[in-house]
Symmetry: C2
Subunit: 470 residues, 2 copies
């Protein structure tokens, strides 16, 4: 990566960069003029240090004006603003490029699915057109300035129609941590290092950041008793995950090869896979988690495209002594740049902290580059048996935990199964989530010679359980 | 049930039966004039003994004229014909009932979801109108006769847009049989008798009867070796299941109580949950089946409404010594009529049998009334933690096996894990499915004093695996 990034940094001003026309096999991992860290936007807030949405990012989401009856529609985050692509399409700003115009037209709807269906060359053409039109001095400024809406005046929707959601388990640290709690003598099962373990999740209960999550009531088996009871979960937890949106799918029976996999990926988001550990412990054998997971999952509003993530790609390696992947899960490209450097953080804010004016408190951090399995391996494995993926499908990375104790992506791990409480700045402690707790995930990417881009955040607050007697 | 059925049998001719107007809390389990076994249709084939689709059945499906470019649309099976509801709506035959007309209008689309969304009173009103209009001597005959298409001139689609698919595990005989093969010392896990165990499945790969199922290639771990390999499944199996389509859903966080559960169920179908046992054995710990199930599942074209199944309801009981269900999974109505008597059969036809002109051979049979958990318990448990169901969602019952050896709903069970081959009339034997095998499930309902109704069939044929070197 270093050489590639250096190339971008040392180039002439962006407009002078050679860039071929978008093509069907657009390499979403190659750097191009849209990644130039010198670029500045005429949207002033996009140029602020530390802001998540500089002109090098350009993530997509679905929004409408808050408290309005407007339909949701696709927009692009730029600084603290949203570029309304329906308005931008009508403005004529993109009339100069047929590809970009067609891609913008596919955004005049409530979800990203139509854009996703167009495939990587269209995504690339739109990104390039947006980058050029939003640059400082771009002649499109006059047409596009009226198409901006401040993000704090918007509400968001789940950005895609998610047909199927699959959750993976790609952090070996998480799998080992959880395994130690459940099976001390056999923490990591023998299949783990051979395949990206995954299972099907529930699509219908996926909501967008800001979701209020009601504490689930379900069957639990308390220690020392002989019969289960129906009770509110006492071990409610979050899971720090990266979400992966499929772009174009595949036909049933037609696998996606590893080296083609990223052509089918539209982008990434932050993802909280809320989990009820006591429910999970009682129900999950032999067919996997069910009610312990399906009461809610939350995505961040913005989808960071794979192309925007190109500067943060890293080599992917296998630890000494671990099995090398089978050929269908291995390639040179994977070894060179299969991993993605995304710094992830978890913040917790209790109701008392809100009352005291205390900000959310960081309880852990990890990095997606430490995942044992990559995005392309998830896609290749998911489809190798013929399963068909569709545009808008969501893959969860599984909880992203690092090797260190403070890099655990769930309270189950941080509190060692509830045995070691965490301290909050309010003087409170936590083993699992309490009613009123707000959980915030943040993520960002940094690399030498590249701009810093961010994922925004995914946020959710725990509501008390329904009355058991109602 | 006996008394209720006797009442239906002893009634006056159907038109004289008292029947109130459809109402919001229509009881889908109560008998009414549409169940009268004396009813005959002006569609002559519907009156043939042993035919699956007499006028007492009236199942819904999505069809189009075979080899045409026509859009799929909703129809009703009657004898060997399909009543095209788009054509029927236009014919004016239902103009006499606002409720039935609105329900028919909701059928002028490619899937059943719009009808499902209307709820039980609309379903009931449409069933009543169809029953009256298709009866021998009905004045609507002249308008509706041109709206018929022979079933053998139609092709079918998956009848609903299935958002989420959940597979349950409701047969204690199947769970015990499989458990004995996997965990001889601990076949039935402690949670089994306390809750309907379920897990999320893959929606995108659900197809309709006639599906050609390509043998999946995936990771398997052969006995006696130290590393897995990518290989075509050598233990491909079917699973004999009943599918349950949700009618109206529930809001996220709002459970459906047991006694309301059937108000949310539109109807039932036959369902083959194809399974690759060698893939399953290697991958399923700790998060459940994944590639072993998601390569294909097949539904029958016709959805038998819950109302059509009213005459075949039976008492639901717990065996002596088994735990009684927790209150949220128990009720008087459940005890009186929670079970449904549906006779299920599995037939197998190899390529050689087809060549020799031998018909499909029955390899096992079971009955849905023997399920340990009922439809309403599946719905109540699925939602108790707040998970939202949506119209068109599919619940699989899990493999339906009976207590006897020839009542096993999968080859895994029938062949005792591959150790005891089955004999076919062609002189061949089977432990698991071979390329070219066709699997057919059939189902029907019979009860004293009620008409016999059938489910039609669900059929699928195994294609060879893709080349591993391609």
């Amino acid at each position: 990566m270093t050489a590639a990034v250096r190339r971008a940094r040392e180039t002439e001003p962006a407009d002078a960069l050679p860039l071929g026309p978008p093509h069907r096999n657009a390499t979403l991992t190659a750097l191009n003029e849209t990644h130039d860290p010198q670029l500045r936007s005429w949207v002033a807030s996009a140029n602020t240090q530390g802001n998540d949405f500089p002109i090098q990012n350009l993530p997509f989401g679905a929004f409408s004006r808050a408290h309005s009856q407007e339909a949701f529609r696709v927009g692009v985050a730029i600084g603290d603003q949203i570029l309304d692509l329906t308005a931008a399409y009508a403005s004529g700003a993109f009339n100069g490029s047929d590809d970009a115009l067609a891609a913008t037209q596919a955004c005049c709807v409530p979800t990203l699915n139509a854009l996703m269906d167009l495939g990587p060359s269209a995504w690339s053409a739109l990104r390039l057109a947006l980058s050029r039109a939003l640059r400082l001095g771009a002649p499109e400024q006059a047409l596009l300035a009226p198409c901006l809406l401040p993000q704090d005046q918007a509400e968001f929707a789940v950005p895609a129609r998610i047909g199927d959601y699959t959750d993976f388990y790609t952090s070996v640290h998480h799998a080992t941590n959880i395994g130690k709690l459940l099976r001390p003598d056999n923490p990591l099962l023998p299949n783990y290092k051979w395949m990206p373990i995954g299972y099907h999740g529930r699509s219908s209960s996926i909501g967008v950041s800001g979701q209020a999550v009601r504490r689930p009531i379900s069957q639990v088996m308390r220690p020392g008793v002989s019969a289960p009871e129906l009770a509110a979960s006492a071990r409610l937890d979050y899971e720090l995950e990266v979400g992966v949106y499929l772009g174009r799918g595949n036909a049933l029976g037609e696998p996606i090869a590893l080296d083609q996999a990223e052509q089918h990926v539209f982008g990434l988001c932050l993802f909280n896979d809320w989990s009820a550990r006591d429910v999970q412990g009682w129900e999950y054998q032999p067919l996997g988690p069910f009610l312990s997971k399906n009461f809610a999952s939350t995505v961040s509003p913005w989808v960071i495209t794979l192309e925007a993530l190109a500067p943060y790609r890293q080599a992917w390696t296998r630890a000494e002594g671990d099995p090398q992947p089978l050929p269908y899960l291995d390639s040179t490209a994977l070894r060179c740049q299969g991993a993605i450097n995304i710094a992830l953080e978890v913040y917790l804010q209790s109701a008392a902290m809100r009352d005291q004016g205390l900000p959310p408190h960081r309880v852990s951090h990890s990095n997606f580059r430490d995942a044992y399995w990559t995005v392309s391996q998830m896609v290749a494995h998911h489809t190798v048996g013929g399963c068909n993926l569709q545009s808008g499908d969501l893959l969860g990375s599984g909880t992203q935990s690092g090797a260190a104790a403070d890099e655990a992506g769930s309270l189950m791990e941080l509190s060692l199964g509830g045995k070691q409480p965490l301290s909050l700045p309010s003087g409170e402690t936590r083993t699992f989530l309490e009613d009123g707790d707000t959980v915030v995930f943040r993520g960002h990417c940094q690399a030498n010679g590249a701009a810093r881009i961010g994922f925004g955040e995914v946020r959710g607050t725990v509501l008390p359980a329904r009355s058991l007697t109602a």
